[in-house]
């Protein structure tokens, strides 16, 4: 066994993965029912729907959950399969920046639909 001892980490990521999966599953079920019973007809209807604050907040939480969930998942894949520390660190940083960019893009969309 590696003699480095415990690094007292991993629990937070595990809890984030569990919590975000609950929100993602719940929100997707809500979306299915939302569009099944009250479909949005056109672009104007979409804009009107997104003009409501609670809608944007729930979508914001959805994107945050999705990106956090993806972060934990990708980290897990790298820890499992990338055994060169250099490659693992590079992949981790690239993923972090990529997910941050996606987060900013999502924020930009959600904030601009308000105006």
């Amino acid at each position: 066994m590696r003699a480095a001892g415990s690094v007292h980490a991993g629990l937070g990521e595990w809890l984030v993965q569990r919590a975000t999966s609950v929100y993602l599953a719940g929100f997707l079920v809500y979306l299915v029912f939302r569009f099944a019973f009250d479909p949005l007809a056109d672009h104007a209807a979409w804009r009107a729907w997104f003009a409501q604050g609670p809608v944007r907040i729930t979508w914001g939480l959805f994107f945050l959950s999705l990106l956090a969930h993806a972060w934990v998942g990708m980290r897990s894949v790298y820890m499992d399969y990338l055994h060169s520390a250099g490659v693992r660190v590079a992949a981790t940083f690239l993923t972090a920046f990529g997910l941050l960019a996606l987060a900013l893009w999502a924020a930009n969309i959600l904030l601009n639909t308000a105006s």
Binding site: M1, R2, G5, S6, V7, H8, A9, G10, L11, E13, W14, L15, S76, M79, D80, Y81, H83
Partner: protein, 233 residues
């Protein structure tokens, strides 16, 4: 109809590559369990290497990969096995010869969870007592025979054998965390809280699927995670 076998053969001293070799036994050979058949095959070919001892599923020596599934040869009835019966060493372990694998990494994992009772109180005159309920909490944990069927069936162990503790060692970690006489719960949880040691488990549950003693390492690992979560939530 003969009983057909295809058995992994490897002897590093010959310099030859590992290969599968075919064997046959007549169906009236008298073998009931797979281990009986292997012992008869060893009479045919005494170079065939495998470990065995108690021949009744207690010692865990004859763990091997049988038709793609880890198990104990001594408790697997021959009649239940698809032919040709493919026998290989436990996956992911260094092979010493044929079905004999080097268990050193496995026992290093076991040792890493300190599989002994830690109690700083003065030794009592009689044994350290438990209530029946406290004793019941050890059921499903203490019965492990350390055969390594679970750990070597675990993909997370295959990818990180030097960092992930593996289901067998984690089951034992759970066993001592559940013991009312143990006083090292905090230290044990501290040493387990690690992205590799514990959290490489992705609840694949091969461990629970193959355990020849019907134990549930995945449940024990889940319980350790709950104990860790309760410390911070």
């Amino acid at each position: 109809m003969p009983i057909r076998f295809s058995i992994y053969r490897y002897n590093p001293e010959t310099g030859e590559k590992p290969r599968m070799r075919d064997y046959e036994l007549s169906d009236d050979c008298g073998a009931v369990m797979l281990l009986d058949a292997l012992l008869l095959l060893k009479e045919q070919d005494d170079s065939l290497g495998f470990r065995r001892s108690c021949r009744e599923g207690v010692c865990g020596s004859d763990a091997m990969n049988i038709n793609g599934r880890n198990g104990l040869a001594c408790i697997l009835p021959l009649k239940d096995l698809r032919q040709p019966i493919e026998i290989r060493p436990l996956p992911g372990m260094p092979v010493i010869r044929d079905m004999i694998v080097d268990m050193t990494p496995f026992f290093a994992q076991y040792k890493a969870v300190q599989p002994w009772l830690v109690n700083h109180d003065p030794e009592p005159e009689i044994e350290r007592l438990q209530s029946p309920e406290e004793r019941d909490r050890l059921d499903g944990l203490y019965e492990c025979i350390l055969c390594a069927c679970c750990t070597t069936a675990c993909p997370s162990f295959w990818w990180n054998p030097d960092k992930f503790l593996g289901p067998a060692a984690l089951l034992q970690a759970g066993r001592f965390l559940a013991d009312s006489r143990d006083q090292a719960t905090g230290e044990r949880l501290d040493s387990l809280e690690d992205p590799y040691r514990l959290f490489r488990c992705h609840t694949i549950m091969n461990c629970t699927d193959v355990c020849p003693k019907d134990l549930n390492p995945a449940k024990a690992i889940g319980h350790i995670r709950q104990m860790l979560a309760k410390r911070v939530l």
